[in-house]
């Protein structure tokens, strides 16, 4: 690997003003990655603050109902703050602290990464500012207030499409404004090197736990690991440990919105092409002039026009496959898992549940699917109600 390249993907395509900062993060990460004291502190936070390891739950009713492969659910929704985002954030904010930074900034889509960052900043006494698209502050109003409760300042971003992509733009702009004391806590396996590597390393614990827990329960590897993909952090976390285990199918579920044959989707692998944006060469939804497309998904966390560069590489080499899941399928899966197992998934994670519903019946009863349930769905209840035509007030 050079300059953080995965095949042709990755790189460091950021303004000169940020290059020194990006190198500084890279050097600090290399140093602390190998530091036993840093790792011990992080392990302690993950165990005693975030609540790791998360459970690997056998979804017996769902398995019986679908009458095919055995379904296990990795319960990242049970982590503190309600999603996998805390794994990465604890690592990055601890790293920022070690680097002597006093302020963290972050983008957020659904608000899960923003809430996690605000939480870690509160815990570690850092100033915190979160950038969130105006459309997302509207559809995830509760998370905005949650971040503010935790002491963060939330900026509603009104440029462009006012969603996750624009939140990333604005956080990068803010970083160029104030770079000396500020650390950018990037929420997914994307952006300029070293972020795709850092975020993957802080999330790979998910796959490591899945492997260990499943070995204990079943004495074998899964046949397929499913996860939703926006930028791709929970998917990379779940997949990484299994990349060398070629018998394990790795399946990323992209947001197909109203359908990949409409303009209203966010399926970067299915419908995108190679481009360079947000610091990385990867796959993006864009037009023939390289203008980034205004993508759409019902779930704010998947409403992103690109995908992390390592996913693009896994897609290109065929090691992982990426499938589109529509809003309607995701909402159905959201309701299905709630009723079937008493687990309300995040709308993002519901995309992976939906695909499990689709393929489990076609698989043998001796086969095993693991669905990474990246977050809990409390934040989405009002959106689902609206989708079903019910007006409720939070």
């Amino acid at each position: 690997m050079n300059n953080g390249k995965f095949g042709i993907f990755g790189g460091q395509y950021v303004p000169e003003t940020l290059m020194t900062a990006v190198h500084e993060v890279e050097q600090a990460y290399e140093k602390y990655k190998a530091d036993p004291e840093f790792q011990a502190e992080l392990d302690d936070l993950l165990k005693n603050y975030a609540g790791r390891p998360s459970l690997l739950y056998y979804a017996e009713k769902m398995t019986k109902d679908l009458n095919g492969a055995k379904i296990y659910i990795k319960r990242e929704d049970l982590n503190h703050t309600g999603s996998h985002k805390i794994n990465n954030v604890l690592g990055q904010v601890l790293l920022a602290k070690k680097m002597g930074k006093t302020r963290v900034i972050a983008e957020t889509g659904a608000g899960q990464h923003g809430v996690a960052t605000a939480t870690a900043a509160a815990l570690m006494d850092m100033e915190c500012e979160i950038f969130m698209g105006k459309e997302d502050t509207d559809r995830q109003a509760l998370n905005v207030f949650r971040m503010e409760l935790l002491g963060a300042k939330v900026h509603a971003v009104t440029s462009g499409t006012m969603t996750l992509k624009d939140a990333v733009n604005e956080t990068m702009r803010e970083w160029t404004r104030r770079v000396d004391d500020t650390f950018y806590v990037l929420g997914s396996v994307m952006g300029p090197h070293p972020y795709p590597v850092i975020v993957r390393d802080f999330q790979k614990i998910v796959g490591e736990e899945i492997k260990e827990q499943l070995m204990e329960r079943e004495g074998r590897l899964p046949d397929a690991v499913l996860a939703c993909v926006g930028g791709g952090s929970n998917a990379m976390g779940a997949f990484y440990e299994f990349i060398p285990e070629v018998s394990v199918k790795l399946i990323g579920c992209e947001a197909a919105g109203l359908g990949v044959d409409t303009a209203q989707h966010a399926a970067a692998v299915e419908k995108g092409s190679v481009g360079v944006f947000h610091g990385m060469k990867s796959l993006f939804c864009q037009d023939q002039d390289g203008q980034i497309a205004p993508v759409y998904s019902i779930s704010a966390g998947l409403d992103y026009p690109g995908i992390g560069p390592e996913h693009a590489y896994l897609a290109e080499t065929g090691r992982a496959s990426y499938v589109p899941v529509t809003d309607e399928e995701a909402v159905e899966a959201f309701e299905y898992l709630s009723r079937m197992e008493g687990i309300i998934p995040a709308l993002e994670s519901a995309h992976a549940v939906a695909y499990a519903k689709k393929i489990a019946p076609e698989m043998g009863k001796d086969q095993i699917i693991v669905v990474n349930l990246s977050g809990r769905g409390d934040k989405d209840v009002a959106a689902i109600a609206r989708y079903r035509g019910v007006e409720i007030y939070e």
Partner: protein
Amino acid sequence: MSDRIARAFDHGKAFIPFITGGDTSLEVTRQLLIAMEEAGADLVEIGLPFSDPIAEGVVIQQANERALAAGCTTDKLFDVVKEARKTVEIPLVFLTYINPIFTYGKEKFMKRCVECGIDGLIVPDLPLEEKGEIQQVCREYGVSIISLIAPTSKERIKAIAQEAEGFIYVISSLGVTGVRKEITTDVAEMTDMVRQVTDVPCAVGFGISTPEQAEYMASVSDGAIVGSAIVRLVEQYGEECVPVVADYVRKMKGAVERA
């Protein structure tokens, strides 16, 4: 590398205006190129619009949005530059992001640059580490890549300056483009470091709007670049902006000549 760019700096300090291509309309862009040359511009930076210009402040972000909404495309902007080139002799460079170049096709893009008279490219999200993305094809077609130096560059300045061609864009301030009341960076220190390594001229941009700022920046470098202040005039006057911008350019050119 383009000879035309070198000529922009041979007769004293240069004034370099920026406009967003297709802002208001492509016809306004064509008229502005002609009028700014007549008003004394030594080189013009033309922004090839991009949906997500992460190095730009609000003024130029909105100009990008206006231009795209008005139907500006890469091909149409090339055509307008070609049309203006019938009379315009000063060097013209595109300021754009790497994705529009990459996605259009690097080779095809450079070929069009040569056909239409674009002498160089300023690509804010293409740092030294990634210059290889287009360096080869730019050399083949003789299109200069204009390097940028930021207040945070420090020990990187030497390496960047050694490879520089055309001119060096010295970013005066942290942050994104936009008018600033005060510029606190020690720009002279940056240009001194560049001059230890190379004879390639340096022009300073980001935050400059007044004749006093332009005069000062030109006094510690080889020229001043002004973007947002001009784009604001285009925004304010729309179709009627051409004489207003020309007056502004004349005034600013006068200021850099005093430096």
